[in-house]
């Protein structure tokens, strides 16, 4: 009887012990769990060619030809060296030998020949648009013959959308590629993918072709990596605090001070790559009138938003590009910033006079506009503040918070929205083309702007620049014209921050890239 009781007791203790341990920490020593930046939540697939929304995992599964350092210089990944002719009409890449895809297939020039044409007809076609054809010079040398010079070719080749998939697996899986299976040559293989929840990655033990940006020349140090998608910032923070996850790839300004307070956690702040802005639908009243557009843009108080909502971190945005890009240094007279008196004057001139309830009216019609944004703490907050700021100049904005998965589809309709609060995350001036080109009305051109003069400047910047300097000049001209037409209002540039549990992980001190991504993750070790 006593023995039974004792064995029961021991059994219970053992079960409780196992339960607690398995519940509080991953089972294998080289396991790590990262939480994706909530902006990347909901990516529907890991298909680099077809998908327009991808997350961190895509760079871990697929390698690109080149990669970018923090100073925006390029280093070889699957390519060892490259050169272009003086007129920019031809690029030759030497490829790295001995690279195999996860399915054992070899990587060589023929793969590139197969790969580039696959972009045709997809939403990412613009990435390879300038390439006329691919010439296989020999097994490890490939040449791109260009339609026009493209100074941003290297930048595109380094982006998430130009990860190279295994041709065999890609053709075999068809539409299912990126969902049920994703075969690349990267340091991690995809083990499982649950949309909207998590992705489980397993180390590729054969990996030995990391770029010079990683100190580690062999396989990744982490054995199993789980990428989790968590919608609520506070839940993600709590998970990090309690040891449920090891790293948060994005940390909002609310939680940065709290993380600094915790001894076991470390916060790293990087230069920002994101811009918050408010596109204005130029195709519907009252915004067909440029004066009303200008007034609305001038009503946004960037400084107040930065200090009140973001604790004075980051920087205000006065134009469309992040401050670290040369193309953002336009003539100061084109920069947009808070000027409520001028805003009120412009509205008066446009015929919108103060009326009942503090809302302006014209011929009996009140100045009521729709202000859309997507569900998410930062978006909601910025939108509510802008609503209040618009009210002070007499504009009544009605907020509608849309579901993030369907908001782009709603923009595409083009007629329902008027103002919106959005953000983008990108380190190149050609984002101006992406969001304002007349070829993409609705989404991403939420401003519905189609201006002939703009299109000419766009052509020149995107396709007519032969050198980098020419490109900067042409893009500045395009940028300045965009500013002058008041098709959006700039709001804010957040800093980038990631945080990790320093008792669990050792992370390199310098991040060799514009973000915390694959090249640095290669060097992350589980203690």
């Amino acid at each position: 009887m006593k023995n039974t009781v004792r064995s029961c007791g021991i059994l219970l203790l053992a079960v409780a012990g196992v339960g607690t341990m398995s519940g509080l920490s991953p089972v294998w020593a080289q396991d790590a769990t990262f939480v994706l930046n909530s902006r990347e939540n909901g990516a529907p697939s890991y298909n680099p060619i077809k998908s327009t929304k991808v997350n961190l995992g895509i760079k871990l599964i697929f390698d690109r030809l080149v990669d970018q350092d923090a100073d925006q210089s390029f280093h070889g990944l699957l390519a060892t060296s490259w050169e272009s002719t003086a007129d920019g009409m031809s690029w030759t890449f030497k490829l790295r030998p001995g690279v195999k895809f996860h399915d054992g297939e070899p990587f060589n020039a023929k793969v590139i020949e197969w790969w580039i044409p696959k972009f045709k007809g997809t939403e990412n076609a613009f990435m390879a648009d300038a390439i006329d054809r691919v010439v296989v010079v020999d097994d490890l040398t490939v040449r791109f013959v260009m339609k026009n010079p493209d100074p941003s070719l290297l930048l595109n080749l380094a982006s998430s959308f130009m990860g190279i998939p295994s041709p065999k697996a890609y053709d075999a899986l068809g539409d299912k590629f990126g969902v049920t299976g994703a075969v690349g040559s990267g340091p991690f293989r995809m083990e499982s993918f649950t949309i909207g929840q998590q992705t489980k990655l397993v180390r590729n033990d054969d990996y030995k072709w990391a770029s010079a940006l990683s100190k580690n020349r062999g396989a990744a140090k982490i054995g199993r990596l789980t990428l989790r998608e968590i919608g609520e910032d506070s839940t993600a923070f709590l998970e990090l605090k309690t040891g449920g996850v090891d790293m948060l790839m994005g940390v909002s300004s609310d939680f940065q001070p709290r993380i600094r307070e915790e001894k076991s956690l470390k916060l790293v702040v990087l230069p920002g790559t994101e811009v918050f802005y408010m596109p204005i639908n130029t195709s519907v009243a009252p915004f067909t009138d440029i004066k009303v557009r200008e007034a609305v843009a001038l009503a946004v108080n960037q400084k107040e938003i930065m200090s009140g909502l973001f604790g004075n971190t980051g920087a205000v945005a006065n134009n469309f590009l992040i401050s670290s890009l040369p193309e953002s240094k336009i003539d100061p007279k084109f920069n947009i910033s808070y000027n409520p008196d001028l805003a009120r004057k412009l509205l008066d001139e446009a015929g919108w006079v103060p009326a009942a309830g503090g809302v302006r009216a014209k011929a009996g019609v009140p100045l009521t506009v729709k202000l859309w944004t997507q569900n998410g703490t930062q978006f909601k907050r910025v939108t509510e503040v802008i609503q209040a700021q618009l009210k002070t100049v007499g504009v009544n904005a009605i907020i509608t918070i849309q579901d993030p998965a369907s908001i782009n589809a709603m923009y595409r309709k083009g007629i329902d929205h008027q103002l919106a609060v959005r953000s983008y995350d990108y380190t190149n001036a050609d984002i101006l083309d992406w969001f304002f080109s007349g070829k993409r009305l609705g989404y991403p051109n939420v401003s519905m702007w189609n201006d002939p003069k703009a299109e000419i400047l766009n052509e020149k910047a995107m396709k007519g620049s032969r050198t980098w300097e020419e490109r900067v000049t042409n893009f500045k001209a395009y940028h300045e014209y965009v500013q002058s037409q008041w098709v959006y209002a700039p709001i804010y540039q957040p800093t980038q921050a990631f945080a990790f549990n320093q008792t669990r992980l050792s992370v390199p001190d310098t991040v060799r890239g514009t973000r915390m991504t694959v090249q640095s993750i290669m060097d992350v070790e589980v203690k």
């Binding site: 609520e232 910032d233 506070s234 609310d254 709290r258 107040e304 938003i305 200090s307 009140g308 909502l309 569900n375 703490t377 909601k380 907050r381 939108t383 509510e384 503040v385 609503q387 209040a388 009210k391 009605i398 907020i399 509608t400 918070i401 849309q402 579901d403």
Partner: protein, 283 residues
């Protein structure tokens, strides 16, 4: 207490439960109606220099993430919660009573069809029904009211139907029929008045649930849109800063609890006083 109980309505108000609950409800209703006069500040004046401040003399319950006064927003929030809940239950009650009365009265295939559909809706979780209709109609005040009213429709239809079927066989109804009274006349003059009491009390209890449902929708960001204050939406933004400013979540949370508890207690004492508990069970 005994003296109070002798007054009309005294059997409800005379009890501790009923009286206290009624008092609380009165306070909430008055706060909702007279919000612009009672609240110390308007609910949408932002002050980004004073965000997330704790309770002070100027702001009894502190400020939220935009520097707005939490106490004022809770008072105005009573307006939103009560009006949405009452409107939704009102619509639901009316539609449900008509449907249930017709089904119970006419019987036959019509009754069976209605019952089958209503039963199915009744077993679906209300949150899901509301979310589905908000997804269809888009977020906002009107859609919230419609979605919540559809979620509770089944309850009132069933209850009315059960009552009608019991009363249908009463002698006075038979008498009216034999005197040549039309269907509408019987339904309106005889059936509805007698079913009103339990259904109205059930409606009152459902208002409590509707307040919680509205708060849940607000928590998802799908109810009334900013800057309109909604207790649920306030709790949702409060969650994001639970460490920085916990009072932003406690205030609205307590408001919801107090309001719903008061409604439930008052409804319960009404049921006891009118002794209709058995009419409200097993429908």
């Amino acid at each position: 207490m005994k003296v109070l109980q002798a007054l009309p309505g005294g059997s409800v108000l005379g009890t501790w439960r009923g009286g206290l609950a009624f008092l609380v409800l009165l306070v909430i209703a008055l706060a909702a109606v007279f919000a612009p006069w009672i609240a110390p500040y308007p609910y949408d004046i932002q002050n980004l220099a004073a965000t997330n401040k704790g309770p002070t003399l100027a702001h009894w319950l502190g400020t939220d993430e935009f520097g707005r006064d939490v106490l004022s927003r809770i008072i105005y929030g009573a307006r939103t919660s009560l009006s949405v809940a009452l409107a939704a239950i009102g619509v639901s009650l009316t539609a449900g009573m008509c449907l249930g009365a017709a089904a119970g009265y006419f019987g036959g295939a019509f009754d069976r069809a209605v019952t089958a559909v209503v039963d199915l809706t009744w077993s679906f979780p209300e949150v899901l029904i509301a979310l589905i209709f908000i997804a269809i109609l888009g977020p906002g005040l009107t859609s919230t009211i419609i979605a919540i009213s559809i979620a509770y429709l089944a309850q009132f239809a069933r209850l009315t139907r059960a009552q009608v079927m019991t009363i249908k066989s009463e002698t006075y109804v038979e008498a009216a029929t034999s005197l040549g009274a039309g269907h509408t006349h019987i339904m309106v003059s005889h059936l509805l008045p007698n079913t009103l009491t339990p259904v109205i009390v059930a409606g009152m209890l459902a208002t409590g649930d509707a307040i919680i449902l509205e708060a849940t929708l607000g928590f998802f960001g799908l109810g009334v849109q900013p800057p309109s204050p909604s207790w649920g939406a306030m709790m949702s933004s409060g969650t994001a800063q639970i460490f920085i400013a916990p009072w932003t979540i406690l205030g609205p949370g307590l408001a919801i609890c107090i309001a719903v508890i008061a409604i439930n207690l008052f409804g319960d004492s009404l049921i006891d006083a009118m002794d209709i508990r058995n009419r409200l069970r097993d429908y």
